[in-house]
Amino acid sequence: MYSDAALEQLRKEALSRFWIRIGVVLLIAICLVVISPFLMIFGALTGIVITALIPNPSKKKYYDAVKDSAIRGQFEKAFGEVMVDYNKGFSENFISHTGLLQMGNEYSSDDYVSGVCNGVPFSRSDVYIASSSSDSEGNSSTTVFFEGRWMVFDFPKELSGDLQVFEKNFHYAKKRKGIFTKKAERRHEIFLEDESFNKRYVVMAQDDHDAFYFLTPHMMEKIDRYCSQSDGRFMLGILGNRLHVAINNSKNPMEPSLFRKNDVEEVRAEVSNEIELIRRTIEEFKLDADL
């Protein structure tokens, strides 16, 4: 575990290496400008590509140190033994198989943490899903489908089919309905007796009874409260005996930055929020209730 002073030292080292690289690129560019302005542009572009592609070991060391200090340490303190992998997350296949989200052609996931909270196994990861395309004129555009946290909890009961609840402004949620979806996987929209809930959320289920069984008036209130306290657009899915909670907040919260001093404090605060959110999810949805 690193002290705050040691982390700051590592940040300074990584930052100075970063500036040295930038300096070298600029120096090459200035030298080349004497020969030809074209070569300067070529040299600068080459330098930028080299800077981006060649890993900066100091930067990685600093990131790992911050994450070890802020993420692993805090999660272990909160939940005891946890499994942490900063460079890995949920596989694309795993997320795709849930059928909860549209999948683009870009996928990444990192900051995987799994453990047990109040007897409930959980795992979480930051997920990024986007679709990139370019037109005939070479203009490229990227549409981000999802960027935020994805949490998976063991659910104490198994429903007979899939159940999905999401906010109406949660764009790119996959509804798995219509004739192009396999009949066994097809969901249909459910309208509950609470009109205000119907206005704010979309409920998709394979079986009406499951939806009404889980979404009692009390549970609807809880979802509404949980959603109001979330920092992004919310989606919930019950698939088999797993509860999936996805919060699309356009953030990768546990990433440190070289340019911010005392950034570790911010990362720690984000991790505290994550821990609190895991606890709150288990509490709100009564996942720890003993049968």
Binding site: L192, E193, H209, F212, Y213, F214, T216, K286, A289
Partner: protein, 180 residues
């Protein structure tokens, strides 16, 4: 061909198509209502089974009262919605009585079998509530279809009329909470 005839044919085709779609929607809703009613029967039967088991476990503490309770919660064939409601209420009372017996006799209440049956009865209660809500939700959509114009015209032609809701005690509706 005369354009007026073409227009009349198109309008008639559209009308016939709309009538068929509406009739199918009403029939589909009627099937869903029947399914939801069958779901209530399943939940009531399940609750009856669990209560019977509980009565057997508590029979030495209940004496003759056991038979009286058992008779009151008996399911009969082809019960009306009202009768199902009454049976559900009787089961509710029986459940309260049994839980009170469990509290009065700690040696009974602390047995594993009694505890498991208590959990099972809560589970069946949750399923029954869900079945009732599914039924009422379907009834609500069906009634809206039957009374809203112009669907009401088609509903009247095929003899589809408003149906009664399964009454849920308001205080009960407030108390329902998922217990896992």
């Amino acid at each position: 061909m005369n354009p007026v005839v073409v227009i009349i044919c198109v309008v008639l085709l559209f009308l016939v198509g709309w009538i068929i779609v509406t009739i199918n929607s009403i029939r589909r809703m009627q099937v869903k209502i029947s399914e939801a009613e069958a779901d209530i029967d399943v939940a009531l039967n399940k609750r009856f089974d669990v209560l019977t088991k509980m009565l057997d476990v508590a029979k030495s503490y209940l004496g003759e009262e056991r038979d009286i309770i058992l008779k009151s919660i008996q399911m009969r064939a082809a019960m009306s919605l009202e009768q199902k409601g009454a049976t559900g209420a009787a089961m509710e009372n029986a459940q309260k009585q049994l839980l009170a017996v469990g509290e009065s006799y700690p040696q009974l209440g602390s047995t594993n079998q009694f505890k498991q049956l208590q959990i099972a009865i809560m589970d069946t209660e949750e399923h029954l509530q869900a079945a009732r809500r599914v039924y009422n939700s379907n009834i609500s959509r069906y009634n809206q279809m039957c009374v809203s114009f112009p669907n009401s015209l088609v509903a009247a032609i095929i003899g589809a009329s408003r149906r009664e809701f399964f009454k849920i005690d308001d205080s009960k509706r407030q108390d329902v909470d998922m217990r896992f």
